[in-house]
């Protein structure tokens, strides 16, 4: 699997989110459900797009959704998953 830096992951997460909302800027720490126009359906579509883009699986059975659903939360979680996938 391609190795990506946290900076690249954050940048890609921002891009995938920006394709789905129309806020000009979004604070990295703000909940996507509270701070953006993303609704629950939009969140699911975003997670599907992230899984495809990063070739990983986000296990919503175990993950804490409330801490996941921000740019910071997604970046952090994806960084861990990418590290694990690459044997880190």
């Amino acid at each position: 699997m391609k190795t990506r830096s946290e900076y690249e992951i954050r940048d890609m997460v921002r891009r995938l989110i920006s394709e789905r909302i129309d806020e000009v800027s979004l604070d990295d720490s703000v909940s996507l459900l509270e701070g953006s126009s993303l609704d629950s359906l939009g969140v699911v579509e975003l997670l599907v797009a992230i899984e495809e883009e990063f070739s990983i699986s986000i296990d919503v059975v175990t993950v804490d959704l409330e801490s996941l659903l921000s740019i910071n939360g997604l970046t952090h979680h994806l960084s861990i998953l990418m590290d694990q996938s690459n044997g880190g």
């Binding site: 000009v24 629950s40 986000i58 296990d59 919503v60 059975v61 409330e66």
Partner: protein, 518 residues
């Protein structure tokens, strides 16, 4: 079962059994009964006039106790949501003229503007250990409420006129439903049942009454977990699940419905939207010990009026359009299909009409407007659902579609006209058409707009305008400007073509939904 049954039954359950679980807050049946009696005492000791009790609270023990107290006093309850805009809440208050409002101090700040006014306001502390009058009742301040003494609750749904529409459900109707639901889908002590639905969604009535009458534990699903409730289902060891199919669709889409992932589930009920077979089969694999029941029913028919117990295999007879049948109406209720040229003129297909003890006879404050009701050939009053349904050779009903433009968003009924009116009020130079998109990048509720002059509103401005009067589920996720409306042969806007254009087209005539003025 009689009115006041809930409080009587609460007293018969084991006092130390858990009645309601909301996060870390656990409320036993004894504590719930004490709170119910305390609320009832406050109301009976005060100078409260006739009329319904408004429940201005999030789901939880406080709301359950308020509802049980209202029921014991022979008053209807009317739920409000702290997530809804103040103007909408005030429209509802004006429509029902409540005797009092009961809120919790968890929702008090969020609802302060909406609840400002003249109605007595009783506040439950977040620890459920104190009741206080935030606004005391005034002697002889009672207002005439249009909600009669025979009404159990009033739910407000989206209305084509631009105002929420009140659906008053009689106690007789609720009792008829509970009689069937307790027998067919009941819970028992030791069962852990989900409380998925907001109080303003009538399926919450099932959550509360069926669980508490049965002596089970009602486990509140946190709002942030409703869209993807997998972790909740496992960690809370839910045995009885009830939700809209959207929740299962989301889990299926993310590949969560793996074999045996929900081993503890014994019963799953779905209602509020068409239930797709692929999702149902995936749920069967994920919850192998659970039976699955597809329920159907408009708010006007009291929670649900038909059901279909999903067999282990789909077949040609139960899979007509890739959708699980809505089955057969409950015993004592009646259905007929009214066939018209609009629905294709096929013999077994038509608009579904409903009648029986579960069906309302009029909307609140509707006056002589009875467009949704019709007299059948037998002079019985029927409710016209607007749903197009087929009846197969086994007598099973299959949902086919809608006769009008009504949409469903996470089970909520949405009349596009209500949203289009809100946009037009804010931006008179713009015409809008609101559709639901299920493909492409713009999914969910999408507003297409065409403006007659150069002053185009930003997408964010359109959504802000909607948020003034509409609940969150009615605010478009996307706002897209079109150059021209696609029209049909009669010159009318072709909504299907608008939807297809939004789902498929990325060309230049569809402006990017960036909100930029162009």
């Amino acid at each position: 079962m009689t009115r006041g049954a809930l409080i009587d039954v609460l007293a018969r359950h084991r006092p130390q059994n858990k009645a309601v679980e909301m996060g870390e807050q656990l409320t036993s049946y004894e504590e719930l009964l004490d709170l119910t009696r305390a609320i009832r005492e406050q109301i009976t000791r005060s100078a409260i006039g006739p009329g319904p009790v408004v429940v201005a609270d999030d789901p939880g023990a406080g709301a359950c106790a308020t509802i049980a107290a209202a029921q014991a006093l022979g008053r209807a309850y009317v739920p409000l949501s702290a997530n809804h805009p103040a103007t909408r809440i005030q429209q509802i208050l004006a429509a029902v003229e409540p005797a009092l409002i009961v809120q919790s101090d968890r929702t008090a700040t969020r609802m302060a503007e909406a609840l400002a006014g003249r109605y007595p306001l009783l506040t439950i502390s977040s620890q459920l250990d104190n009741l206080s009058w935030t606004r005391s009742p005034e002697p002889e301040a009672g207002y005439a409420s249009p909600v009669g003494a025979d009404i159990a609750y009033v739910m407000f749904t989206s209305g084509t006129t631009g105002r929420p529409k009140g659906v008053p459900v009689r106690t007789e109707s609720l009792m008829a439903y509970l009689g069937v639901a307790m027998k067919r889908f009941g819970v028992r002590p030791g069962d852990r049942a989900s409380h998925f639905f907001e109080l303003t969604f009538d399926l919450s009535v099932h959550d509360i009454f069926v669980t508490l009458l049965g002596g089970g534990t009602l486990v509140v699903v946190p709002a942030g977990q409703r869209m993807l409730p997998a972790r909740f289902l496992r960690e809370k060891e839910i045995s009885h699940w009830f939700s809209v199919p959207s929740a299962a669709e989301s889990l299926h889409r993310l590949g969560v419905l793996r074999p045996g992932v929900f081993p503890q589930l014994q019963q799953t009920l779905f209602c509020g939207e068409p239930l797709r077979w692929p999702v149902t089969e995936a749920w069967q694999v994920a919850a192998p010990s659970s039976r699955i029941v597809n329920l159907y029913g408009p708010t006007e028919a009291t929670i649900a009026i038909s059901h279909y117990v999903v067999p282990r295999r789909r077949s040609r007879s139960n899979d007509v359009y890739g959708i699980v049948p809505i089955g057969q109406v409950f015993e004592g209720q009646h259905s007929r299909l009214c066939s018209t040229p609009e629905v294709g003129g096929q013999p077994n297909r038509g608009e579904l009409w409903l009648s029986g003890s579960q069906v309302i006879s009029a909307y609140l404050n509707a006056g002589n407007n009875r467009d949704a009701f019709a007299a059948g050939p037998d002079d019985v009053a029927w409710y016209r659902t607007g749903d197009i349904v087929e009846r197969d050779g086994h007598g099973l009903l299959h949902f086919v579609g809608r006769m009008d433009h009504q949409l469903k968003i996470s089970g909520y009924r949405v009349e596009p006209a209500e949203i289009e009116n809100a946009i037009h009020r804010a931006f008179p130079a713009c015409r809008s058409v609101v559709v639901r998109c299920d493909r492409g990048k713009r999914r969910g509720l999408v507003a297409a707009i065409v403006c007659v002059d150069g002053d185009r509103p930003a997408a964010s401005a359109v959504r802000e305008a909607c948020a003034i009067s509409l609940p969150p589920y009615m605010i478009p996720a996307h706002v897209v400007e079109l150059a021209l409306w696609p029209v049909n042969a009669n010159g009318k806007i072709d909504r299907g073509a608008v939807r297809r254009q939004l789902e498929e087209h990325t060309g230049p005539e569809v402006a990017a939904d960036t909100g930029a003025k162009s």
